[in-house]
């Protein structure tokens, strides 16, 4: 995780996460994601290799269609950028959205 430019009062943080739960970022995980993102003031931008979407919009998040193994970049801009990025990273990589993981081969 690295801190970006500190422009006036706006903090910018970004990180990269990997979707590890079996069914990917489907509806329920997307809901959890935007619920957390919406608890913070910062703008949240999520992107995969080709699209960039609003991390507070369930419509846009679910359209990312991130499946298991996808890598996403989470970028936050605002006063609480650091906190929101941390919270989202925890949800995706540690809690795996409380979803089942793929069976180990």
């Amino acid at each position: 995780m690295k801190a970006g430019k500190d422009t006036l009062e706006k903090l910018v943080f970004e990180t990269e996460v990997e979707i590890k739960n079996k069914d990917g970022l489907h509806m329920r995980p997307a809901m959890q994601f935007v619920d957390i993102a919406n608890q913070f003031d910062s703008d949240v931008i999520v992107s995969n290799s080709d699209t960039e979407v609003d991390g507070k919009s369930i419509m846009q998040m679910s359209m990312l269609a991130a499946i298991c193994g996808s890598k996403l970049k989470i970028k936050a801009e605002g006063q609480d950028a650091h906190e929101v990025v941390n919270a989202l990273k925890e949800l995706v990589e540690e809690k795996h959205f409380d979803e089942p993981m793929p069976k180990k081969k």
Binding site: M27, S57, M59
Partner: protein, 579 residues
Amino acid sequence: MEIKKGIAVSPGISIAKLLVIDSEDYRIPRRSINPSQRITEIQRIRNAFKDASEELSRLEAEHDKAEGGKIKDIFAVHLRFLRDRSLRKRITDLVHAESVTAEYAVSSVLRQIASEFAKVNDAYMSERAADIYDIERRLLKQLLGKKREEVGHLTEEVVVVARELSPTRTAGFDKKFVKGIASDAGGRTSHAAIVARSLGIPAVVALEDLTEYVSGGDTIIVDGNRGIVIVNPDGQTIEQYKEYSKEFVELEHRLDAIREEPAVTRDGSRITLLGNIEFPDEAEVVLEKGGDGIGLYRTEFLYLNSASEPTEKDHYEAYAETVRVFSEKPVTIRTADLGADKYTQSRRFAPEPNPFLGLRSIRFCLQNLMMFKTQLRAILRASILGDVKIMFPLITNRQELMQAKMILRDVMEDLDEESISYNKDIQIGIMIETPSAALTAFSLARDVDFFSIGTNDLTQYTLAVDRGNELVSTLYSTVDPAVLRLIRTVIQDAHKSQIDLSVCGEMASEPEYIMLLLGMGVKTMSLSPPMLPEIKQIIRSVTIEDCNKVARKVLGMNAERQISAYLRNSTRKILPEAF
């Protein structure tokens, strides 16, 4: 501008904004709006989102723990979509940019999103498209459904557009505001059509997919004379129709002028014209239109309009009200004709596979004696107020008639014991509306005072055609040679037995069939009240001699089409403005 052809079921012209009710198939066509209207549409979208969210929150709470929280999760996700500002923005942006209706914008954006989901190469994700469709439906239900509630308390004139209308629903329309009816399904003799005719609301049915072509607020012309509707007519068409509508009203007025004149043919034969009514307040319409009484008082409304079975008092009050209006003129009350498409099926635990051949009408009454006796008591009590006759529907054999009469005698005895007065000589009649009754009319005639031919059911049962099914409704014709032969038998048997005979089916409301009926020897007809003046005009323009010729000719014809065309031509010569 779009013109669609259907079946004209209730005459008259109306031009008004349309109101879509009961829309279940939500295929919303693209509709442009005036740019100044965009703000209203955007507000409607906001309200729809708000109301749909409230509905979802309720559903989410209700399904709290059920099914391991899965259903709750689904609603929770849908709720997030509704709260998603970027989704709403995409929809309102579309309204802004392209000036389209709220319905179209919602439908178009959500379907776009759904198709994007469907494209994702992952089964789990692609199936989520169904959720988006669900959200679309919920929003559209708010947008379209809102108006449904408004039908109850309308404040401006509208044309009601629906896939299908039940008679009960149609009967609930406020005549002051509902100026026209147009529906996808239905046929000439569907009960909703009958109700529309009774209320005098122009109606066109069997428009197949009209609801998919319109959205609330469009202007529509309903031409209940020609059987067409015109959606979003241009200025010139509206002007033409206003003119046409004026002419039609003038014709009506001219017909009203003969209201006080008797229904006598040019060669002096007096014909009795009665009205068919569904509700007590229609009795006034019959008098207004110059009717000589009521030939068919349908009593189903008493059962259809309330959740519980009507009491004797409910029955009595409805009958008394009507009988008082007519004082000495006849009022023929038909006992409950429930079943098939009315009432009993919808409340049945297991619907019958063939309701029209099942437990309906008199059969239903004979198996529900308490209910039947309640009605008979009320009719008998009302019989002292005027000239009340009692009529049993759908008799198929003599045994049924004897059973019904026996029950009536039981009720009379009860009344005697309680010293309640009634007309002991009340006339008893039956409807002839099944081929079996028509074929045995001679034997049935011995036990009744009158016959009334119910041409709708008689046609349906003779030709084995469901009158409401647009796939086969072209096969349905009252002037089919087979039906006419049965009708002739009934008329002849009634004459031989010297009992009264009337025709109370829709046939008697059709201008082109009047000469035929007169020629076949019919002297009493009971018809839809708004049609009374026009039918009287025809009667006053013909001679029985001419009619006899027409009937002889028709009864010698073998093809329905030939008969229809011939009858239309004969009538057109008499009353050209009727067509």
